[in-house]
């Protein structure tokens, strides 16, 4: 497997704006928050990352991942009332 590019989370958000990403965390700050990671999979919808996430954790037990939407977590104009 080729080595994946390690980026800051901010860089990942910028490079993959508008996509869902599966990130393998690689670096953390003193509080344990991820600061860098490598994008393992990406997709336009949330469901597309389910199998890649399961597969990655099976292949690499003990890793930490962060799945997120690269962009606003609630889109402009959507008022949340749950």
């Amino acid at each position: 497997m080729s080595e994946k590019l390690e980026l800051t989370l901010e860089e990942i958000e910028a490079h993959h704006a508008g996509e869902w990403v599966l990130v393998e965390e690689t670096t953390w700050d003193e509080a344990g928050n991820p600061t860098k990671g490598a994008v393992v999979a990406r997709g336009n919808d949330r469901q597309s990352l389910v199998q890649p996430t399961r597969r990655l954790h099976t292949q690499k037990p003990g890793i930490k991942t962060f799945v997120f939407y690269a962009g606003p977590k609630v889109p402009e104009g959507l008022v949340v009332v749950l």
Binding site: A31, N33, V50, K64, Y69, P75
Partner: protein, 131 residues
């Protein structure tokens, strides 16, 4: 519950001013959750439940849930841990429900986690303080 007290957990303000916070499940899986004191039980999307390997065919039980526009049944399962900042709750129950696709978070951080601390919302700093 473990970890030192008084964690400042930095999140993000989203549209409408709501606060979203990174949460780590079972020490391995991190997602953005919407912090919601109006939600009794922490909730995960079905995608998250599938990713972390929860068996939806074997829930702890089902509960009736009421949102602003419907009452429904939802399965309750158990996480080995839910960590926010360095504050961790273990063996915590969660609901599993579909979330609207337009809502780009993977769960709701509800009262059954928050009540284990003395939470303070610093909205101007996009920060949740857990003491």
């Amino acid at each position: 519950m473990s970890g030192h007290r008084g964690d400042r957990v930095h999140g993000r303000r989203a549209y409408g001013g709501v606060l979203v916070i990174p949460c780590q499940l079972n020490e391995a899986y991190r997602y953005w959750f919407l912090a919601d004191t109006g939600t009794a039980m922490t909730m995960l999307s079905q995608q998250v439940a599938e990713e972390i390997g929860l068996d939806l065919s074997r829930p702890v039980r089902h509960e009736r849930i009421a949102s602003v526009h419907q009452v429904a049944q939802a399965p309750i399962l158990r996480l080995s841990s839910l960590q926010v900042g360095s504050q961790r709750a273990t063996n915590i129950e969660v609901l599993v429900l579909s979330l609207p696709p337009d809502l780009r978070v993977d769960g709701l951080l509800g009262v059954n986690f928050l009540e284990q601390f003395r939470p303070t919302f610093e909205f101007d700093q996009a920060t949740l303080v857990l003491r």
